[in-house]
């Protein structure tokens, strides 16, 4: 089942890239369509952050993950590179769970 998701989503993602280089630009010339398409990644990424950090099965829980996200915010404000942000957050979560 995971394999189907991996291969199906990979094929769809490739076709989306190919479509961009192939279809005429006027498809997106309607401003509303363009704005929605532009906002979709923002909404999804924000929802993913929220769910990853606070959801625990069907309940909401504030734990080490929330502290780790706080650390990530500080690292991003300090303009740290991506890898430092990700592994820095992991380190903070690991330390919080130890104490």
């Amino acid at each position: 089942m995971i394999w189907w998701a991996v291969l199906g989503a990979a094929a769809a993602c490739y076709l989306l890239k190919l479509a961009g280089l192939s279809v005429p630009a006027r498809v997106l010339e309607r401003p509303v369509v363009e704005r929605v398409a532009d906002l979709v990644p923002v909404a999804l990424l924000a929802a993913l952050v929220a769910v990853q950090v606070v959801a625990s099965g069907p309940t909401l829980e504030l734990d080490a993950r929330a502290v780790a996200l706080g650390a990530a915010v500080l690292l991003l404000l300090a303009r740290a590179p991506f890898l430092v942000v990700v592994f820095g957050a992991a380190l903070v979560a690991a330390v919080v769970r130890l104490v």
Partner: protein, 236 residues
């Protein structure tokens, strides 16, 4: 548009592309480690980097699975995130001006960074050099780093011990961060996060994230204006 490229300009575009490519490609390590921590096999993890090759979608698929979502909702989230590459392609098409087999091959490399390094160029040769240098460097390094991260992650054992489950949220935030300079994007992000959390107790895992796309629909329909962060910028 000029048809030739000054050797000095060409060198500087290649240098920039390599720099961005190396910086970005190496963070495949974090994807590999997170993906095996989420329960994917090393082969599945590497297949994602080879075949999907668009970081946010890959993180989304494994993130939804890690949170207990079905493979279908993980795949749908990944595909919805992949739509932004269509936007990039629409802007790049007249600039890169490839057709036939070359277009089919180049499509795989349409991602945030290759777009950022080519969409601002003023000639087709300059855009192509920027696009290919960045895209190919990232493709090679991203896949090597994914394998290294996946093998390392498997050797580590339980991902929670190392906080790797918490790293997923940080990865999504880092991907979202540059877009938050725009006020409409900030409002969209906050509303989407609120909608998703409100749905967590009510729906199956994976559904809250998909439903948050409705916020994009609503805000996009009601709030006109330009977004300055629409195309990615990278640190040079």
């Amino acid at each position: 548009m000029t048809t030739t490229l000054d050797p000095g300009e060409r060198r500087s575009i290649i240098r920039d592309g390599l720099g961005v490519g190396i910086a970005t490609g190496t963070y495949g390590i974090s994807f590999g480690a997170v993906a095996v921590g989420a329960g994917l096999s090393v082969t599945q993890t590497c297949a994602l980097s080879l075949l999907m090759f668009t970081g946010a979608s890959q993180f989304a698929l494994v993130g939804v699975l890690a949170a207990g979502g079905t493979p279908l909702s993980g795949a749908l989230t990944a595909v919805l995130l992949g739509t932004r590459n269509t936007l990039y392609g629409l802007r790049l098409a007249p600039l890169l001006a490839w057709s036939g087999v070359r277009r089919v091959a180049a499509s795989h490399l349409v991602i945030d960074e290759s777009t950022a390094m080519s969409v601002t160029r003023t000639s087709t040769p300059a855009a192509r050099v920027g696009f290919l240098t960045t895209g190919v460097t990232i493709f090679v390094l991203w896949n090597v780093a994914t394998l290294a991260g996946a093998l390392g992650g498997r050797a580590l054992g339980d991902p929670r011990t190392y906080g790797l489950d918490a790293a997923v949220g940080a990865a999504f935030l880092a991907l979202l961060w540059p877009r938050l300079r725009d006020r409409r994007n900030r409002v969209t992000a906050l509303a989407a996060a609120a909608v998703a959390l409100a749905l967590v107790p009510l729906t199956a895992a994976g559904v809250p994230v998909l439903a948050s796309a409705g916020v994009a629909l609503l805000v996009g329909a009601l709030w006109p204006g330009q977004d300055d962060t629409e195309f990615p910028e990278v640190q040079r």
